[in-house]
């Protein structure tokens, strides 16, 4: 009886040793996205267009320029969604309580075969952009064939849900 218990204990010890060796490999998952968060492909901030499943407007501000990409909804944030507009007017609400107008113009991704009026990439430049760290903005966009409100919260991103 004692011998049987010993054999079981011995087997368990070897298995535990094996598991201990394997555990560090299992933990190498630092690239995983936090649960419920979508990947911003350009490392910008993702702003849901009405709702997350519908699509996103990813924006990134570097110095005095703003870049924006219309991308898919849900987990499809690596897929561009082209819009028919060649300009987007945004009203930007600054932390000091003032408003500014910002005009985004189409900047087609040539390698994707985009052109003005069928484009997912927009850019804008304004000197005051380099002075602000956070802002909110609103506008309208004809996205997936329907005029929809565009709400931007930078840098945290916007998601109504």
């Amino acid at each position: 009886m004692k011998n049987n218990i010993a054999i079981v204990l011995l087997s368990l010890a070897v298995v535990v040793l094996g598991i201990l060796l394997l555990v560090p490999k299992q933990q190498n998952q630092k690239n995983c996205e936090p649960e419920g968060k979508h990947k911003a492909y350009h490392e910008g901030s993702l702003n849901a267009i009405t709702q997350c499943e519908n699509g996103h407007f990813e924006i990134k501000v570097v110095d005095d320029s703003l870049e924006g990409w219309f991308v898919g909804g849900g987990q499809d944030t690596n897929r561009a969604v082209r819009v028919s507009s060649d300009k987007i007017e945004l009203t930007v609400f600054l932390p000091d309580g003032t408003n500014k107008e910002l005009l985004l113009t189409a900047s087609p991704l040539n390698l994707a075969g985009e052109k003005n009026g069928d484009c997912s990439h927009f850019t804008a430049a304004a000197p005051w952009l380099s002075d602000i760290k956070t802002f909110q903005a609103t506008g309208k966009i004809n996205f997936k064939g329907k005029w929809q409100p565009l709400i931007i919260q930078y840098p945290e991103g916007y998601d109504r849900d």
Binding site: K2, N78, A112
Partner: protein, 416 residues
């Protein structure tokens, strides 16, 4: 009689079961060493080789398939790509160099790739390493200059005994039974020095040769002269480096733009290969689990062998106790015996495991193009000695306790 002499005699008394225990531990350890060594070397090789090719511009399809075909000369390319599109990508300010290639031909089981000549002269297959034809490094000849010339990778040249000046007819396809370009004789003008990468396993000839091969049809022949119609399988891209040698971060924007197109995608081998390992990772775990089970069985075998040996030697132990041996001495004798058997088996397994990898390395290199070494030190090499101590103590502990608690008077009686 000394302590170690008693242990040696004890092992000799039950030599049969001791040898079996040593052999089972030996095999378990050898299996573990071989599995871990191959696993680590494969991982290392796959991730390091990817460093020479920053990105592969390929057609739409599986990114993994593109990497396997373009970098490792395995699989087949999922489609074709327009030359003009590659030229557009080359204009990107972060693209330093684009080397176009066409895959899909073979010779004697090895891939024959049509490629831009710059691949042989300028391209760094690993950071700081260009292909060499120098004889002192193991190469011969020169890069191709003419349409009907070819260069063989080191591994191909060695396996097929290729000599400079020898000719061959490429096979139109990579499967057995594919048609041969019987009227196209390509001459070997160079043999690459060994690189230790899958590039050693391919034959290279000029792109113009590919388009001009007999039997490819008029449409393909037109690709040789008219860039508008020209198609390629893909292109190796070198991306601009920033401080610290890292790839320019703009590569993600470039990839995003290309991936949105209907005809191409940019594949970064370093991003794709971890996915390959996550797909095949379970196979590793199965092998490792089997190795541990073999080791567990070996441990149990040793345990049973020690117990039965102890039963046979009950009288001897009792006599030793009468002659002045303490309880601790007999405890130490049994435990040391277990440890010695474990360590002998483990050390033999260590050596045999590395020999196993060394012997299999040549065969595996021929099959996969990956360079394995029997001298590679893996994690198990470092953990082996402490692990053997643990196994030795675990297997010897209970028999040793039984020896410690053995009654002297009762066991002095003759067993028969």
């Amino acid at each position: 009689m000394s302590f170690w002499r008693i242990i040696f005699n004890s092992i000799r008394q039950h030599i049969g079961s001791s040898i079996l225990a040593v052999v089972s531990i030996w095999l378990g350890v050898a299996l573990l060493i071989a599995v871990f060594s191959l696993r680590e070397q494969t991982h290392k090789t796959f991730t390091e080789i990817g460093t020479g090719i920053d990105a592969v511009l390929g057609p739409k399809g599986s990114p993994l398939q593109i990497v396997l075909n373009a970098v490792y000369h395995l699989e087949e390319m999922p489609g074709k790509l327009k030359w003009t599109y590659m030229k557009e990508v080359e204009k990107s300010p972060i693209v330093v160099e684009a080397i176009p290639f066409c895959t899909g031909h073979s010779y004697a089981g090895y891939r024959v790739n049509a490629i831009d000549r710059r691949f042989l002269t300028d391209f760094e297959y690993m950071p700081g390493h260009k292909f060499s034809f120098a004889e002192k490094e193991g190469g011969q000849g020169r890069p191709f200059n003419e349409a009907k010339e070819a260069v063989a990778g080191w591994e191909v040249a060695k396996k097929l005994h290729i000599k400079l000046g020898q000719t061959f007819n490429p096979v139109c396809g990579v499967k057995s039974g594919d048609p041969i370009h019987v009227n196209d004789f390509i001459i070997f003008v160079g043999i690459l020095a060994p690189t230790g990468t899958p590039h050693d396993r391919a034959i290279y000839f000029p792109l113009t040769t590919f388009y001009g091969l007999e039997g490819h049809g008029a449409a393909t022949a037109k690709m040789a002269t008219d860039e508008k119609y020209r198609e390629i399988s893909g292109a190796y891209l070198k991306i601009k480096r920033i401080r610290g040698g890292a790839m320019h971060p703009g590569v993600q924007d470039l990839k995003f733009g290309i991936d949105q197109s209907t005809e191409a995608q940019l594949v970064i081998p370093r991003e794709v290969l971890p996915r390959l390992f996550s797909i095949i990772g379970w196979v590793d775990y199965v092998f490792i689990a089997v190795s541990f089970m073999v080791l567990a069985l070996a441990g149990m075998f040793l345990f049973v062998a020690l117990l039965s040996a102890l039963r046979q030697r009950r009288r001897d132990m009792a006599i030793m106790r009468c002659l002045g041996a303490t309880r601790r001495t007999v405890f130490g004798l049994v435990l040391s015996e277990a440890l010695i058997i474990c360590i002998i088996g483990g050390l033999l397994g260590l050596v045999f495991g590395h020999i196993l990898v060394g012997i299999g390395a040549e065969q595996m290199k021929a099959e996969t193009g990956i360079q394995f070494s029997g001298f590679y030190i893996c994690i198990i090499d470092y953990l082996l000695l402490p692990a053997l101590f643990v196994i030795g103590i675990l297997t010897g502990l209970i028999p040793a306790i039984q020896a410690y608690r053995m009654g002297v008077l009762r066991n002095l009686l003759p067993i028969s």
